[in-house]
């Protein structure tokens, strides 16, 4: 098991800002490099402070005001936050968002892992398959795909035409409150390309020797997957989980486009972010929308913290 040990040593080293950095002294050339680095990083820093940090602080302030976009904000204390507890549409939107996240993210990761394992077999034309499967995740969040989705799952859409061939009478999937959220989940699962590529990279890093050794010991394919692939892949699974969870909580475009900005039918696709947008830009209720944004930050932060805590029990770093 020395290979495993080596692996973990590598991880620890690279976890501390890269190997070898401390060994060198600061030469003049390096200072020049630093200046260049600062220069090239400047746009990012400006972006961070002007576009992210500044508005972040501003929105915290606005969340304690009655800001309506057009008039100067007035301080109203915790009122916006208190209002949230009685806001049925907000509670509903939380329900919709959690349902969406908790169902579609695991499904998406399972699909990604499955495809990654299939593609890891060294098929001919692998690069092409990889691109084909990756494509949806480039397109998935886009407006064009959402519009396409509305058509595909519409009353006269592709899905129903296909069902008609089988003699099944379909219906408007995106316009029925029982199914609309489901179609959005399928859309999200379909964009499994990004986690798939990361899984694929992870799979490639598992040394063949483990499998050979296990095969010699007579381990079945399922056993090899359970005892070698899965444990060594847990850091990658964890990474994908955190990333996709955060992304899913912030889903907006798909629901906005598919429901025409309403979150309909009957609020069944009213994602939290969509309701936030409606309050802020539709109902001139920007103070409240700001407070909602902060609640979302707390929720996402909380979920991520829980994730990191839980990771202690199932993520295997080879230590």
């Amino acid at each position: 098991m020395s290979a495993l040990r080596e692996l973990s040593t590598m991880r620890r080293e690279s976890g501390r800002g890269g190997p070898g950095r401390r060994r060198r002294g600061r030469s003049a050339a390096e200072k020049g490099d630093n200046r260049a680095a600062v220069f090239f990083l400047a746009p990012w820093f400006i972006g961070l402070f002007v576009i992210t940090a500044g508005p972040l602080v501003a929105s915290l302030y606005l969340s304690f005001t009655d800001y309506n976009l057009l008039q100067d904000p007035n301080w109203i204390g915790w009122e916006n936050y208190v209002r949230m507890f009685a806001d049925e549409r907000l509670l509903n939107s939380l329900g919709v968002t959690f349902t969406y996240v908790l169902i579609s993210v695991p499904l998406q990761l399972a699909a990604a892992l499955l495809l990654a394992i299939v593609l890891d077999r060294g098929l001919r034309g692998l690069a092409i398959y990889r691109s084909v499967f990756y494509l949806p995740s480039l397109l998935g969040g886009s407006v064009a795909i959402a519009i396409l989705w509305r058509q595909v799952f519409g009353t006269n859409g592709l899905v129903n035409q296909f069902l008609a061939l089988l003699g099944i009478e379909g219906q408007g999937w995106v316009s029925h409150p029982d199914y609309a959220l489901g179609t959005l989940m399928i859309l999200n699962v379909w964009t499994f390309g990004a986690p798939m590529v990361i899984f694929l990279a992870g799979l490639r890093q598992i040394p063949e020797t483990y499998y050979e050794a296990a095969a010699i010991d007579g381990a079945s394919r399922a056993r090899r997957f359970r005892s070698i692939t899965l444990p060594l892949l847990t850091p990658i699974i964890f990474f994908n989980l955190v990333l996709q969870l955060i992304g899913a909580f912030q889903s907006f475009t798909q629901a906005f486009v598919v429901s025409g900005g309403t979150g309909g039918p009957a609020d069944s696709t009213l994602f939290y972010t969509l309701y936030l947008y409606q309050r802020g830009f539709g109902a001139f209720d920007m103070g409240y929308a700001s407070a909602m944004a902060w609640l979302l930050l707390v929720i996402i932060g909380g979920m991520t913290a829980v994730n990191f805590f839980a990771s202690k029990f199932w993520v295997f770093y080879g230590d």
């Binding site: 606005l62 057009l70 990658i236 309403t262 309909g264 009957a266 609020d267 902060w294």
Partner: protein, 449 residues
């Protein structure tokens, strides 16, 4: 081997980046902060002559409207060489979201097209110019008093009507004929007649063709409430007139239409709420015999369906509470309170509503003009058949007008969305008409308070 460590490191970095990314939502929420503070509209009062100025003019609509509007604007620019007009337009669904952000950012257009209760939303919050300040450049005495009153509230004239509009039932006579059903008598038909006729047409036509599209909209509810109670959604003082019982009755009516087959199943109705163009409507596809609609949209529906659609008066308007018919300014031109060039903006609005040159191009695209001289001018030029139908209908309805069009109070622009959502809840049988009626009153009351 090394790459596992590498990706594990990136994992943390990316995780943090993603958390920062979460802040983007907040950034979005906060980007309205850069407002310019108070109103200082009046002090740009230099001469309108000479000095070169650029103003922006925004409206919603399709490309056809943009083409004729831009042509009209070009004529204005030729007549006023010192004024350059930059135009911008988007479709209706995106227009008001976009407007809210640009106004909040202090980057709003100088001449802003408004409609419904939006002038009030903006006017009462100090975002619109009191047109009395630019009366010198903008003559409103030429316009019908009724239409002008649509832009007058809080004792201030904030908007100028682009044209008058009224509401009616658009009818596809070809489907009536195919179904063997007589056209309704608009002088006497009731809401029950509407339901009966629609159900009969649905029964006598192939599957997928319906007697009517689901009639639920804020305008129809306003008329219905008027017929039942003598007042519309709102009272003149801006308070809500609708009661849980009355609105519940409406939901009973709309779901009854669906159950009898008169209107399409809930999924189709709900699908249509996201597809707002005339081409996508049941009427435009030739799949509905009747649909409620604004008179200025008749042309678009005619073009989409390829049928000689006609307009008739809404059912129930001969009841004890009168017709409740009103004329409404289909749209209003307003001027941004923060504009640097109020005179130029006023001149443009004056040109759009008072000039025959503009009327020759724009015609009735924004409603039948409220300026009598312009109407006479258009009639002289010879009207297109569709326009003629609109003119005739409007003058016919004029005889029946007895309802004041009450502009909804601040916050009332939410009522349309609330109504659509609750109607879906009822149609999908997720709630009872009574509960939906009560929910409507609760939610709208919260929105306008």
């Amino acid at each position: 081997m090394r790459n596992i460590g590498f990706s594990a490191r990136r994992e943390r970095g990316r995780g943090v980046a993603a958390i920062v990314g979460a802040g983007l939502v907040l950034a979005l929420a906060a980007c309205g902060q850069a407002d310019d503070g108070g109103t200082d509209a009046g002090d740009g009062g230099t001469s309108a002559e000479g000095e070169a100025v650029t103003i922006r003019f925004a409206w919603w609509g399709n490309e056809d409207r943009a083409a004729i509007t831009n042509e009209a604007v070009a004529i204005f620019e030729t007549a006023n060489p010192n004024i350059t007009v930059e135009t911008e337009y988007v479709d209706f669904n995106a227009y008001f979201d976009r407007l809210a952000t640009t106004v909040a950012a202090g980057d709003a257009p100088d001449v802003i097209t408004m409609g419904g209760a939006y002038p009030r939303e903006y006017g009462d919050r100090g975002a619109l110019l009191d047109l009395a300040e630019v009366a010198e450049y903008l003559d409103t005495s030429t316009l019908d008093a009724g239409a002008l009153s649509n832009g007058f509230f809080s004792d201030t004239q904030y908007g100028v009507p682009t044209g008058a509009n009224t509401y009616g039932v658009v009818i596809n006579p070809a489907i009536f004929e195919a179904a063997g059903v007589d056209l309704p008598d608009q002088d006497s038909w009731t809401w029950d007649d509407f339901a009966e006729i629609a159900a009969e047409i649905s029964a006598n036509t192939p599957d997928g063709t319906y007697g009517a599209a689901d009639p639920t909209s804020a305008e129809v509810l306003d008329l219905y409430l008027n017929h039942q109670s003598g007042h519309g959604l709102y009272l003149a003082d801006g308070s809500l007139n609708a009661t849980p019982e009355l609105v519940g009755d409406w939901f009973t009516y709309s779901s009854g239409l669906m159950e009898s087959g008169a209107t399409p199943p809930a999924t189709i109705t709900s699908e249509l709420t996201t597809q707002t163009s005339p081409e996508q409507s049941l009427l435009g596809q030739g799949l509905a015999a009747m649909s409620f609609g604004w008179s200025n949209n008749l042309g678009a529906f005619r073009e989409a369906s390829g049928q000689d659609l006609i307009l008739i008066r809404v059912p129930g308007d001969s009841g004890p509470n009168g017709s409740a018919m009103w004329q409404q300014a289909s749209q209003l031109y307003t001027i941004n309170a923060e504009t640097e060039h109020p005179e130029a903006a006023a001149q443009l609005v004056d040109f759009l509503v008072n000039s025959t040159d503009a009327a020759d191009l724009i015609g009735t695209d924004r409603g039948v003009p409220s300026n009598e001289t312009i109407r006479a001018h258009l009639s002289e030029q010879g009207l297109e058949p569709t326009t003629q139908v609109e003119f005739d209908f409007l003058s016919q309805v004029n005889e029946f007008i007895d309802g004041d069009f009450v502009i909804g109070p601040t916050g009332s622009t939410e009522s349309a969305g609330i109504l659509t959502r609750l109607n879906q809840e009822v149609l999908f049988a997720r709630t009872s008409p009574e509960d939906a009626g009560a929910a409507f009153v609760t939610e709208v009351t919260a929105a306008i308070s």
